[in-house]
């Protein structure tokens, strides 16, 4: 390998929990270095540190042998380090040209020199192969792929020595990917070092020179792309797995929901059986359609095709609103607790009884407060919610206790099917254990439990069955004795690995 352009050694970072625990890799000039890892492996944090968005706790970075510790994005840009984020940060109501040169619009006598602006913009668009676009067009009218390319063009207006691309192809069509790769070849020829983050393993062979695999915040391997095949990459990401405690499988597992041919803008012909008395895990990468599947079953999102069948009944149903899903005994514990679940600043009581107000309704819509409080207090004790009393505001509770309040909301409603989207995100270990115990109990009582989680370890510990989504498709359905972290990981990547995948 030639001289190092960027060298990262023993990088550490912790937020509440350690995120990076020793990352090492080097980027050589004119080379593309791929970074790959499962959800939560630390890819995004690593990118943020390199481009100056987040400080690191320990470790060293060097650019051409000189210590590099960016204090801000501006500082990093001064060193020639630039990043293209996964989500384009463009202003919809402005033209392409105005977006491209937003921070340094050419001016003449105090007003914008539009002739010069659009002239420069045309050149910038050409450089990335978008010469067909009119720089006067509003960004809002563009497709997501074009916007992504414009974001890339915007970053590349400035000279850069190190370019970070975070999932650049997630929104691109095949011809657009070809344009991007052509640009990357150009940059390589100019000696730019590129860090390429992606979970599309198939792309690495085309574009990358080196690859570093991250696992649990550590770089577990760096090698030449040519020396690894897709299976080996997956094996490196997955690693070994401690087998979780064996669950007693209930003898009387009966069908709760049969999902048939479900399709929407992301999901592609999903078939899945959900059983009473069983904890079903849904694994997959972020953006693979896990949340969308739960929401579609619950009735929160419109689906394009397919249907559900409940229990033994063969009626083909589609729930058009959460009300319908709830009426059929389904509850959803959403991913984003504060945005989709909690009534901030309101009492535990108000939060918990939100879905079950009917139970406490007397004549004239009067609330039977005594009955409500008795019921809320019972769940507070049952789930051991830590608070000063049920009139305490939920905003003052810890994340774990907030989650218990939301779970109680659905237990109070007596739902038969509970869909959990990332139920333990941001929750401390002890509360996690408590939530796991609760899930076992609920399954033992005969409820159907579905859990989406980004942590494979979590799923293999608590689930009876694990289904895997990849790029909107259901790619695997494992029983407890069939799975391994490697198989789950391989299934998560499978619909992205095939080049045919849309």
């Amino acid at each position: 390998m030639s001289a190092k352009l960027l060298s990262v050694s023993e990088l550490h970072k912790r937020y509440a929990v350690p995120v990076l625990e020793g990352v090492n890799f080097d980027v050589a000039p004119g080379q593309v270095h791929a970074l790959v890892g499962a959800n939560g492996a630390g890819k995004t944090t690593l990118c943020r540190i390199i481009c100056g968005l987040t400080p690191h706790d320990a470790g060293n970075m060097q650019i051409e042998g000189i210590a590099y510790h960016p204090e801000s994005v501006v500082d990093a840009e001064g060193h020639g380090v630039r990043i293209v984020m996964q989500e384009p940060h463009l202003i919809d109501t402005l033209s392409i040209g105005e977006n491209l040169f937003f921070s340094e619009l050419p001016k003449r006598r105090g007003v914008i020199d539009f002739d010069r602006l659009y002239d420069q913009s045309r050149r910038a668009l050409e450089s990335i192969g978008l010469q067909g676009l009119d720089p006067k067009q509003n960004v809002g009218s563009l497709g997501i792929g074009q916007r992504q390319l414009i974001e890339i063009a915007r970053v590349l207006i400035h000279p850069c020595r190190i370019l970070i691309l975070d999932e650049p192809t997630a929104a691109l069509t095949d011809p657009q990917i070809d344009l991007l790769f052509k640009k990357i070849e150009e940059l390589k020829a100019q000696g730019t070092g590129i860090i390429y983050v992606s979970h599309r393993i198939s792309e690495f062979k085309r574009i990358a020179d080196d690859i570093t695999v991250l696992k649990n915040g550590q770089s577990v391997s760096t090698s030449r792309v040519a020396d690894l095949n897709a299976d080996e990459i997956v094996r490196l990401m997955a690693g070994d797995l401690e087998q979780g405690q064996q669950q007693a499988i209930l003898s009387d597992i009966s069908s709760a929901i049969r999902v048939r041919n479900l399709s929407d803008s992301l999901l592609n012909n999903v078939n899945l059986d959900i059983h009473y008395g069983e904890i079903l895990g849904l694994a997959g990468l972020i953006g693979s359609g896990r949340t969308e599947l739960l929401r579609a079953i619950f009735g929160a999102d419109r689906i394009d095709d397919g249907h559900l069948m409940l229990e033994d009944c063969d009626d083909q149903l589609i729930f058009e609103s959460p009300q319908e899903g709830i009426r059929h005994g389904i509850g959803l514990i959403p991913e984003d607790r504060s945005r989709q679940g909690l009534l901030q600043d309101r009492s535990i009581t108000s939060n918990m009884s939100l879905a079950s107000m009917q139970n406490f309704r007397q004549a004239l819509g009067w609330i039977d407060k005594e009955m409500e409080q008795t019921s809320v207090e019972a769940y507070r004790q049952k789930l051991e919610i830590n608070c000063t009393g049920i009139s305490q505001s939920v905003s003052e509770l810890s994340g774990g206790n907030q989650q218990k309040v939301i779970i109680s909301r659905w237990l109070m409603k007596d739902c038969k099917v509970l869909l959990f989207d990332e139920p333990t995100r941001g929750i401390d270990i002890q509360t996690r254990e408590a939530i796991y115990r609760l899930l076992y109990d609920l399954a033992a009582q005969g409820k159907a439990i579905v859990i989406v989680s980004s942590e494979i370890q979590e799923l293999t510990t608590i689930c009876d069955r694990i289904a895997v989504l990849s790029n909107g498709q259901l790619t695997a359905d494992f029983q407890r004795d069939e799975w391994s972290a490697e198989k789950i990981m391989a299934a998560s990547f499978s619909a992205y690995t095939d080049d045919a995948a849309a």
């Binding site: 009534l343 939100l354 609330i367």
Partner: protein, 335 residues
């Protein structure tokens, strides 16, 4: 201000006489005391009965506005809707010779219909309520001019009974209806399923939707209720003036919003109290009457009223922060 709860039973906290009323009540009493000292005429039965007979119309409209603000909406049309409802009342009494009870129902239904229209457009097409009710502000005003032929219609003693002081107590039936509306409104808000859901919608609409509550229905009902109460305000107003004036209630929506906000209801939704709104109405009414009596000119009255509204909202910000305004002032003494 009470600390945000140790182990106070819930019933005490959400009861009608919750501690947070005392701040506003104190401000009201302080104003009354101030004007009584400043003007020898202020503290008299006449002042208070005059005040009491002026406020019913604004009070009931402000109650409706409280609900709308709690669900994080706004209703700019209430003044115009009041005028239109009053005009319909006049039309029914004068041109149709309808009995008062029938004309009164027609008046209320007019308000209800306008409010329901607002609610339907807001929920069906997800148009911001600011825009929809701004449109209704124009529509209802135009409607009032059409109904009355752009002229104030003198009705006379037929409607007097609504807002005229009852002999002996010098207070009007309208005042009692307005007070009943405040009490019922507060009970609706703090004691019923509907009230709980209103607060929830204003706090986090997405969470309420995902909990299987029909958010559209709640919004529709709240806007309808605000319209109905604007119609009731129109009935009071016509009774008070003994005539149907198509120019009545211009700018009333802003007075109502001011009273509600002085009462501590949050413009961003999820928080509010009907009793506090009544206190807000009273504070502004006392302020204006008192200022007039101590000889403030009309322009000065408006400047001072404006300052009081802003001061009330600033105080509210501190009241909601870390245990109340008390702890804010404590900081001055500590450091």
């Amino acid at each position: 201000m009470p600390q945000p709860d140790e182990k106070v039973p819930l019933t005490q906290r959400t009861g009608i006489f919750r501690g947070e009323y005392f701040g506003l009540l104190g401000a009201l009493l302080a104003l009354i005391l101030f004007f009584s000292v400043q003007s020898e005429y202020f503290f008299s039965v006449l002042t208070f009965t005059t005040l009491a007979n002026q406020i019913p119309s604004l009070t009931v409209i402000a109650v409706g506005m409280t609900f709308v603000l709690i669900i994080a909406g706004i209703d700019l049309s209430v003044g115009s809707v009041m005028a239109l409802s009053g005009s319909v009342l006049g039309l029914a009494l004068l041109d149709m010779n309808a009995p008062l009870w029938f004309a009164g129902i027609l008046c209320l239904m007019t308000g209800l219909a306008c409010g329901a229209f607002n609610g339907l457009v807001v929920t069906r097409w997800s148009v911001p309520s600011f825009i929809v009710t701004l449109g209704m502000l124009e529509i209802a005003r135009g409607g009032a001019y059409l109904v009355t032929g752009s002229q104030t219609k003198y009705i006379g003693s037929t409607v007097e009974s609504v807002s005229a002081p009852l002999p002996g107590i010098n207070l009007s039936p309208a005042l009692f209806v307005a007070i009943a509306t405040v009490v019922l409104g507060q009970l609706l808000l703090s004691r019923t399923v509907f009230g709980r859901r209103m607060i929830a919608v204003g706090t986090n609409e997405e969470a309420v939707h995902l909990s299987g509550v029909n958010v559209s229905r709640i919004k529709l009902m709240v806007f309808s209720l605000a319209g109905l109460l604007a119609g009731l305000g129109g009935l009071f107003q016509v009774g008070y003036l003994q005539s149907a004036d198509p120019n009545a209630g211009i700018g009333l929506e802003l007075s109502a919003i001011a009273a509600v906000v002085v009462g501590g209801t949050s413009l961003s939704g999820g928080k509010g109290s009907v009793v506090n709104t009544l206190l807000g109405v009273l504070i502004i009414a006392v302020l204006q009457t008192g200022l007039a009596q101590i000889g403030a000119t009309e322009p000065m009255k408006r400047v001072i009223t404006g300052l009081v509204i802003i001061a009330a909202v600033i105080l509210d910000v501190y009241r909601n922060r870390s245990g109340g305004i008390g702890s804010y002032f404590k900081r001055f003494f500590k450091s």
